[in-house]
């Protein structure tokens, strides 16, 4: 069997394996959520001020919440197979519409965060590896650890105080200027402007991971035979580092970044909360406390599909980049 048809078979196998995983996630979350006391109607009635039990029963009936759980699950699964995620009872809107609305702000924040964290992580890791076991190496690892260990919301609030209030450089929160409502390219600039603080905050958290990984990856490569060969050939350390080692060391780091993008689809509840960024994390958080089951299940479903897909894509890319890796 040749390589490309091997890869095709591998993709097919992975896709088939992904289906039960996603199904299991839906079923598990469905029952977990139903373990919780109260439902969407309780929350709506509680917020409304008051409602009679009869009225609430009527609403439950309308939402289909009066049926036995297995029936509700079957209905849900049937709809999901037809790519229909149902309606959000709370927002009285199709779940798909609500999720798509939040998906692109989430992707925006997450990709910019990963890019920033990976970029700086690679630089710092490289620098640390070159200066192995010197004070520079130690400083970098302590710096990375501090950024990782400082609670995110504290960093976020400090960013707002320093760069938005003390210095009027960035807006405090939100995704757009809601007094001006820019259009066209101005809007792009406006959104980019709002993106800066949340991106920096969130990327600080991931910086440590990539720095550490890059450093370890560099060291691993230095130990490989080809480096010894290169040295024997009389190549300069500089050339060895930047031409040979660096290239190979990047591979696992970039892979990790890909996997992270998948995992980050769920959003970051804390950063979204602090910066009022309209991402999926806050939506999931709010829908949990509103018992907006369809919406929450939809978010879980979508993010797990994306994680499975991204992992697959990363693996395939990996196969192409490094022909030594066996597909099996």
């Amino acid at each position: 069997m040749n390589r490309s048809s091997k890869i095709l078979r591998y993709v097919a196998k992975r896709l088939i394996q992904g289906i039960p995983i996603i199904l299991a996630i839906v079923v598990m979350n469905f029952f977990l959520l139903n373990l919780a006391e109260g439902d969407a109607v309780d929350v709506l009635a509680g917020e409304a001020g008051s409602a009679t039990p009869e009225y609430m029963e009527e609403m439950r009936k309308k939402f289909g919440l009066d049926k036995p759980l297995p029936v509700q699950l079957a209905v849900y699964l049937k709809n999901v197979v037809q790519l229909d995620l149902g309606r959000s009872h709370r927002h009285d809107m199709p779940v798909t519409e609500l999720i798509v609305d939040r998906l692109w702000p989430t992707l925006l924040l997450m990709t910019s965060t990963i890019m920033l964290a990976v970029g700086f992580g690679i630089l710092l890791g490289l620098f640390a590896a070159i200066n192995l076991n010197t004070w520079k190496d130690a400083m970098i690892s302590v710096f990375a650890l501090i950024t990782y260990a400082t609670p995110l919301f504290w960093v976020g609030l400090m960013m707002i105080i320093l760069f938005s209030i003390k210095n009027d450089w960035f807006p405090t929160s939100g995704m757009e200027n809601s007094a001006a409502f820019y259009e066209g390219f101005d809007r792009v600039k406006d959104i980019a402007h709002h993106l800066v603080l949340p991106t920096i905050t969130l990327s600080l958290f991931y910086l440590a991971l990539y720095t550490r990984m890059m450093r370890a990856s560099m060291l691993e490569q230095y130990g490989q035979d080809y480096v010894i060969t290169a040295r024997a050939k009389g190549l300069t350390e500089r050339r060895i580092t930047f031409v040979h080692v660096l290239r190979n060391a990047l591979l696992p780091v970039v892979t990790m970044a890909g996997v992270q993008v998948g995992a980050l689809i769920g959003g970051s509840v804390i950063v979204e909360s602090v910066f009022a960024w309209p991402g999926l994390g806050m939506l999931a958080f709010e829908s949990l406390f509103a018992r907006d089951l369809n919406l929450l299940l939809g978010i879980f479903l979508l993010s797990s599909v994306l994680v499975v897909a991204v992992n697959l894509v990363v693996d395939i890319i990996y196969c192409f980049l490094d022909p030594r890796i066996e597909v099996n």
């Binding site: 996630i25 650890l145 609670p151 959003g267 509840v269």
Partner: protein, 277 residues
């Protein structure tokens, strides 16, 4: 053991981390002696700054002693981190060991289950678990465990896959040892180092997750923890910075120390990663 300590102590920052961690543990264990009162005890001196009215690190809005909270909270935070990690390692080792050792269908099933938990956005999932079980120390520990164990399972599976065909395992088979005994008594001790490393880092992550949950209002209102202090004080950051800054620093230092120790362990246990050859 001696050679291990020699390798470990060559890493100065790891030794420093161990020292700091020791201090935190010491503080947690004597919290009841230096601050015998309930850390939730209010006083008539709200929002006193550090050093004012006899509060070393200040008091919060209903006059509770921040320093007392940090001392008592150390115990909670460390316990949460430790118990959640032990539980996660326990589950992860079982899953990983069986999957790696038996392979085939067992591996497939166990790994699919692991993937299910890895695929769910973990922090949101932790929030969900705590909300459903009602916010308490137990539910926070369970939630952290549930989102942490898959990483251990994957790691252990990999180690078992690599080790199960080694000669010493084959020898055990010939001696007629049972599978479980081979797994737990023979293979497992050989992959302890990476487990210890990942476990040490997990304690730190658990402490961070606890503070994140508390930030979102999902802490146990009956138990003093650093996360609680931060969530209680954060809305007053501009007026009384000390309420949430000191516990924040406590978290920072502890997580930092644990990470340094973890790195030190890594270096000491996997020496080949450290040196250029």
């Amino acid at each position: 053991m001696n050679s291990f300590w020699n390798r470990f102590s060559r890493n100065k920052s790891a030794v420093l981390g161990l020292f700091i961690l020791g201090l935190v543990v010491f503080m947690a264990s004597i919290a009841g002696l230096i601050y015998p009162d309930d850390p939730f005890l209010y006083s008539r001196f709200p929002l006193s700054g550090p050093g004012v009215n006899g509060f070393l690190l200040g008091s919060d809005s209903i006059g509770r002693d921040v320093a007392s909270g940090i001392a008592h909270g150390a115990k909670t935070s460390l316990l949460i981190g430790l118990i959640a990690t032990l539980a996660a390692v326990f589950i992860g080792v079982i899953f990983g060991a069986f999957a790696g050792y038996y392979g085939g269908l067992v591996d497939d099933v166990l790994m699919r289950i692991t993937e299910v938990f890895q695929t769910i956005p973990s922090f949101v999932f932790a929030i969900l678990l705590v909300a459903i079980m009602k916010p308490s120390i137990e539910s926070v520990v369970i939630a952290i465990t549930v989102v942490s164990w898959p990483a251990v399972a994957r790691l252990v599976r990999g180690e078992f896959l690599a080790l199960k065909n080694r000669e010493f395992v084959q020898a055990c088979h010939t001696l007629g040892m049972g599978d479980v005994r081979i797994m737990m008594a023979e293979i497992l001790p050989n992959c302890l180092s990476p487990i210890i490393v990942i476990g040490s880092l997990m304690v730190a992550t658990a402490i961070l997750i606890e503070s994140g949950l508390a930030f979102l209002g999902l802490g146990d209102p009956n138990v003093m923890s650093w996360g609680f202090q931060i969530s209680d004080g954060r809305s007053m950051l501009r007026v009384a910075w000390w309420i949430c800054t000191f516990p924040g620093i406590a978290i920072l230092i502890t997580v930092l120390a644990i990470n340094l120790v973890g790195e030190g362990l890594n270096d000491a246990l996997n020496p080949r990663l450290r040196e250029r050859n």
